[in-house]
């Protein structure tokens, strides 16, 4: 595994009104890693994803992606440069089929313009065809080709979770951020998602994984970042983090 840093976060803070969601956070994800991000509810995990993805403006601190500071880069450009994500609550596009949703994933890797679209230029038709084939192949890889023509709003939550992963991967990312990919899934499907994550990591994609299922996190991740109230309270290999007293108290405190 190479040790090159793909994503570096330094001194990152964010607050909503007076509420601090992320505080002075530093961490690094190296290329090829599966990095878990865990913490109790409200620890700032989704906010962190939104900051990295560019949905929220990062005003304090820096976010470096592939060595370049991306604080001011709009969200859609970050996809161009190799980030992709899924959402905690499904964000599949209504009024479109599952296949089209995955085709949207290829958006950043295709070029046809408005005029080419309206005039149905041969290049744009060809591009659409190849994108459709790629999206179909992506669905097939997850065993979901039977869903291709279904409306995105008609499939189950679990299926939607996997479709979102397929859609994120269609963007050919170098870094993929998965926001609770197994939340609300039946047990059997969790294993499937784990397999998917391992496979895409084997293909060289770096993964940031926000997840509540501890067994999954401990078994998948190379490295884990633990947040509480937006702060890093621990970071390191799973077996180290698991025994950290502060981590235990954050979790037990929540349970009690």
């Amino acid at each position: 595994m190479s040790r090159e840093a793909l994503l570096e976060v330094n001194g990152l803070s964010h607050s909503f009104g007076g509420l601090t969601a992320v505080a002075e956070l530093d961490f690094t994800a190296t290329r090829g890693q599966i990095k878990g991000i865990i913490g109790p509810n409200g620890a700032g995990k989704t906010t962190l994803f939104n900051l990295i993805a560019g949905i929220l403006p990062a005003k304090v601190g820096t976010i470096r992606f592939k060595g370049e500071i991306v604080n001011r880069m709009p969200a859609h450009k970050r996809v161009d440069s190799g980030m992709a994500r899924t959402f905690q609550n499904l964000q599949l596009f209504a009024g479109m089929s599952v296949l089209e949703n995955v085709m949207i994933g290829c958006h950043a890797r295709t070029r046809a313009s408005f005029l080419e679209a309206v005039l149905r230029s041969p290049a744009s038709v060809r591009e659409t065809r190849s994108v459709r084939d790629r999206a179909m192949a992506a669905l097939a890889e997850f065993g979901l080709e039977r869903l291709a023509k279904r409306q995105a709003t008609d499939i189950s939550f679990g299926e939607g979770k996997v479709v979102e992963i397929a859609r994120a991967l269609a963007a050919e990312p170098e870094l993929v951020m998965l926001d609770e990919p197994t939340a609300g899934l039946p047990h059997g499907d969790i294993q499937e998602v784990a397999t998917v994550i391992r496979k895409l990591n084997d293909d060289g994609i770096t993964v940031l994984l926000v997840e509540h299922n501890m067994r999954l996190v401990m078994s998948l991740c190379d490295d884990i970042l633990v947040l509480n109230y937006g702060r890093r309270i621990a970071e390191g290999r799973p077996e180290v983090v698991r025994k950290d007293p502060e981590v235990l108290s954050a979790y037990l405190g929540e349970d009690a």
Binding site: F16, N50, I55
Partner: protein, 294 residues
């Protein structure tokens, strides 16, 4: 007329129309709070308030005070009825659907008023005579003072309702978080009904107090509603005090644009400024940017 007097005159005029816009804007805000929808029938309620009062005075030979109270009560009832007949039966009451339905409601209201009360402009005497009051070279119509006074009383009453009464507090809770409110036993549906009643009453009061100054005809509602909506946006949609600020700002803008720029283009100037305010402060003068969560 010298400069100060003219300016003062325009400010008086602006404030008194502005107060009417503010009342209409309150109607928009109350319904927006409870449904997230824009109520296109708001202006029709204003028109109806004026027309019913005029009919009660003219054809019904009623004293002015009684006629005005009847008009407000009648319109408030119609407002509540409108909600029960259109919004209440909806299976999925989305904001956009409610907004569209209120357009249909506005059309129905306007045409029914036309069919029942006729197409002629009507009016009645100002509440306390027409002798203008002179202040520093400018004059104020006594009705303007009534408009300001009644608007102030209504604003204070509304404020009291939402801040102090159980029902008002429950409605605010329902507006802030529908699911949580439902969990603690607040009926969201009822709070929508009450918001329609309050909005209709606010509209009717606006109609009742403006009619002596401008006359009222069945198709005035659209423009009045449009102005009230603009005032609500200008102040910050959903904000009670924003309605006041927005209403007065719009009224003054119109009066000053009419007085100093051109009376033909006064609406254009007023809306141009409105657009600029909107572009500079997208959530209105008193509005706060909302935080979108994923």
């Amino acid at each position: 007329m010298d400069f100060e007097a003219k300016l003062l005159q325009l400010i008086f005029a602006g404030i008194s129309t502005g107060a009417v816009y503010a009342l209409i804007a309150v109607g928009f805000n109350v319904i927006f709070k409870s449904t997230d929808a824009i109520n296109f029938s708001q202006g029709e309620w204003v028109m109806m308030g004026g027309l019913i009062a005029a009919t009660a005075i003219g054809a019904g030979q009623m004293p002015l005070v009684i006629a005005c109270i009847i008009a407000v009560l009648a319109v408030a009832t119609i407002g509540g009825l409108s909600e029960r007949l259109t919004v209440f039966p909806m299976r999925r009451p989305t904001p956009i659907l409610i907004t569209l339905i209120t357009i249909g409601l506005a059309i129905c209201t306007k045409s029914l008023v036309m069919l029942i009360l006729g197409k002629l402009p009507v009016g009645y005497k100002p509440f306390t005579g027409e002798t203008p009051i002179k202040i520093a070279g400018a004059t104020i119509h006594p009705q303007s003072l009534w408009i300001l006074g009644i608007t102030a009383v209504f604003m204070v009453a509304t404020h009291f309702f939402f801040e102090r009464t159980t029902m008002g507090k429950a409605m605010r809770a329902a507006a802030a978080d529908r699911q949580a409110a439902a969990l603690v036993g607040i009926s969201v549906r009822n709070s929508i009904l009450i918001s329609f009643v309050i909005a209709a009453a606010a509209g009717a009061i606006a109609g009742v107090i403006i009619t002596p100054m401008t006359f009222m005809v069945y198709d005035n509602g659209t423009m009045l509603g449009f102005k009230g909506f603009s005032a609500a946006m200008l102040g910050g949609l959903g904000n009670l005090y924003g309605a006041l600020v927005g209403g007065l700002t719009l009224g003054l803008l119109e009066a000053l644009a009419g007085g100093y720029v051109s009376s033909q283009f006064k609406d254009a100037v007023a809306f141009l400024v409105l657009l600029l305010v909107l572009f500079a402060r997208p959530a209105g003068i008193l509005g706060q940017r909302d935080i979108t969560r994923v």
